[in-house]
């Protein structure tokens, strides 16, 4: 049965999503357990896949037994196996977390929420697993549609934010589809491996160049890369806390994955680097993204909006690492996909827990919060330090590789910008953390009873606290094991020509 894991990991959440509707008609409460069980299975399967891939190399699964390029093939190498583990794990953690917060935020939409959540997971896992460019488009749209709906049920600004996301996302998807169409005209194939065989002799044809441009723009919109990021902050700010935690930590990363696939699998690396200097363009845009994201984030008082702008900067990090075009930088980018997924999940979950308890997202109301909810704020601190890049948190190590990559390719501006942006990150989180630990108005009686305000402690429920702690511990432990992760998985994802 395990050899069918590549398709099962997509079918199981899909079936569970539709089952939820029926189960929900009978018992509302079962939906939660059902979802968690399905996602747990996904985590197990993804780990199994990673194990197989690490052991025996790339898996190719032919749907319907049709050999590619005629049938759809699911091709899983180290890169997507790695991503599958990240996405399924974070989806499980967020699902566990979502129980209480969803019961509070949308009490009458629980069934629909879990259905859409599972569909979103299905879409993301499908994007990662498939080896077929059109199938990728379908899953991209499944994920996006579920995302639109999930974002729309947030607070009262959410519908408008979600509508803008729909417009932008549709443009992105249509551009991607156009690119696929051009590739199909030029080669008559939709299979990634097949395309990478057929394309090299067409690299000078305008159709292929146009296809590449359309694909890149479409994906850049989906991953909120700098000039095309407008939809992101609103959408992520107004979504329900569980949704924004999951989407923020995975969706942009999956977009980055698709970009890497297009640049280095569908097209050969030397095309993306030499034939047309797309990596150079992306690199400079990434620099702009880092600066823009950090600078806009400084000005925000809404913690979720602040984190959303930080995501834009983080996407810039990833693209920068890819664009320097050497082994170090690429390793840093892939490592940063993992680390950033964890950091963002941790921070958004913590922010959600804080909002759940205090009802505010405004950082100025966080003063002396550590007395009220020490564990959550501790996790928030860990996440913040990791984003700033203080060792031994994992954020330091991905930045280590990113900067070394930039230095190796003599891109001093990139390296300087990355360090400068981590300075700005330090400013951002310093502002928040000082508020949390040394609030301007101390809690009454604090001076008489001393620092750890056990007396006024009022933590979030355990089902929220546990995922947050998992993420915080994950951030710390990923830091220590990053060398092992690189040597066992990431080094195989680097394109051969680097």
């Amino acid at each position: 049965m395990i050899q069918h894991a590549p398709v099962l990991i997509i079918i199981i959440p899909l079936l569970a999503a539709l089952m939820n509707l029926i189960v929900g008609l009978w018992r509302k409460r079962l939906c939660y357990l059902f979802t968690v069980a399905a996602l747990g299975t996904c985590v197990f399967l993804s780990v199994a896949i990673l194990d197989i891939v690490a052991g025996h190399g790339t898996i190719t699964y032919k749907l319907g037994g049709w050999p590619p390029p005629w049938g759809i093939a699911y091709v899983i190498d180290h890169l997507n196996a790695f991503m599958l583990v990240i996405v399924s794990f974070i989806s499980l953690v967020v699902a566990v977390y979502s129980k209480v917060s969803i019961e509070k935020e949308l009490p009458e939409k629980i069934i629909q929420f879990y259905t859409l959540f599972l569909l979103l997971v299905t879409g993301l896992l499908g994007i990662l697993a498939t080896g077929d460019v059109f199938n990728l488009f379908v899953f991209l749209e499944i994920a996006s549609l579920a995302g639109y709906a999930l974002i729309a049920v947030g607070d009262d600004r959410a519908p408008l934010a979600s509508f803008n996301y729909v417009i932008m996302g549709t443009i992105g998807a249509c551009f991607y589809l156009l690119g696929v169409g051009y590739l199909y005209i030029a080669t008559g194939s939709l299979n990634m491996a097949d395309l990478s065989q057929l394309l090299p002799e067409l690299y000078d044809s305008r159709v292929v160049l146009g296809a590449f441009a359309f694909l890149m723009v479409g994906v850049a919109i989906k991953m909120a890369f700098f000039p095309l990021h407008k939809w992101l902050p609103d959408a992520y700010t107004h979504a329900p806390s569980a949704v924004s935690a999951f989407i923020a930590s995975t969706m942009t990363k999956v977009g980055a994955y698709v970009m890497i696939r297009i640049m280095f699998t569908v097209f050969k690396p030397y095309f993306s680097i030499e034939v047309i200097p797309v990596t150079a363009i992306l690199g400079w845009l990434a620099v702009a993204a880092m600066l823009y994201g950090c600078i806009r984030a400084i000005a925000q008082t809404d913690v979720k909006r602040m984190l959303s702008y930080i995501i834009i900067a983080e996407v810039g990090y990833i693209v920068m690492g890819v664009s320097v075009g050497n082994r170090m930088g690429f390793t840093g980018a892939i490592l940063h996909i993992l680390n950033d997924a964890f950091m963002m999940a941790c921070l958004f979950l913590a922010a959600g827990a804080i909002e759940y308890k205090t009802g505010t997202r405004n950082v100025h109301n966080f003063s002396n919060l550590y007395k009220k909810m020490p564990v959550t704020t501790a996790a928030f601190t860990v996440g913040g330090l990791s984003i700033v890049g203080i060792p031994p948190t994992c954020g330091f190590f991905s930045k280590w590789y990113l900067v070394l990559g930039a230095i190796d390719s003599q891109q001093w501006v990139f390296a300087g910008t990355l360090l400068f942006s981590s300075l700005l990150m330090a400013v951002i989180f310093f502002k928040v953390l000082v508020n949390i630990y040394f609030g301007s108005q101390p809690v009454s009686g604090a001076h008489s009873i001393g620092g750890n305000g056990a007396v006024v402690m009022d933590e979030a429920p355990l089902s929220m606290l546990f995922p947050i702690c998992i993420m915080a511990v994950g951030i710390l432990s990923l830091g220590f094991f990053s060398g092992k992760i690189i040597s066992s998985v990431i080094q195989f994802t680097v394109p051969g020509s680097f």
């Binding site: 709906a149 509508f163 199909y184």
Partner: protein, 133 residues
């Protein structure tokens, strides 16, 4: 002269580009959200037309072999049949398009309930007032 037949011979591409740009313009420039959605539909329709037009051949028929296997199977000439793949792809794309349309319309209803208008600038005004408070 050859520029003319360059244009004429590729007329389907010119058509889809024109339609697509109409839709694109509506999505970007119109301030009315409903018109944005309409533009979105036009945009997607143009892409579907593009795909379908790439599949067509003169004098070809549907790619289904009548009275199937056996002795009939050896008289298959690819030139006689349309390329089915773009149609299949577009069937999926249409489904995607319909569901996107549904989501967009639902969002429009939610927005209208809240702001009693679909004009973007009026909504932004309302938001500004809300932020002022």
């Amino acid at each position: 002269m050859e520029i003319m037949d360059f244009i004429i011979s590729k007329y389907n591409y010119w058509m889809y580009i024109i339609i697509m740009m109409i839709g694109f313009y509506a999505m970007i420039a119109k301030t009315n959200l409903a018109k944005k959605v309409v533009g979105m539909n036009i945009f997607q329709t143009a892409i579907i037309l593009f795909f379908i037009s790439t599949a067509s051949k003169k004098g070809a028929t549907i790619p289904i072999i009548q009275h199937g296997h056996g002795e009939a199977a050896d008289i298959i000439h690819a030139a006689q049949y349309m390329n089915p793949l773009p149609h299949v792809l577009m069937l999926t794309a249409i489904v995607v398009m319909v569901s996107t349309f549904g989501v967009a319309i639902a969002l429009l209803i939610m927005i209208y309930r809240k702001y009693n208008t679909l004009e973007e600038d009026e909504i932004l005004e309302i938001l500004k007032i809300e932020n002022g408070r």
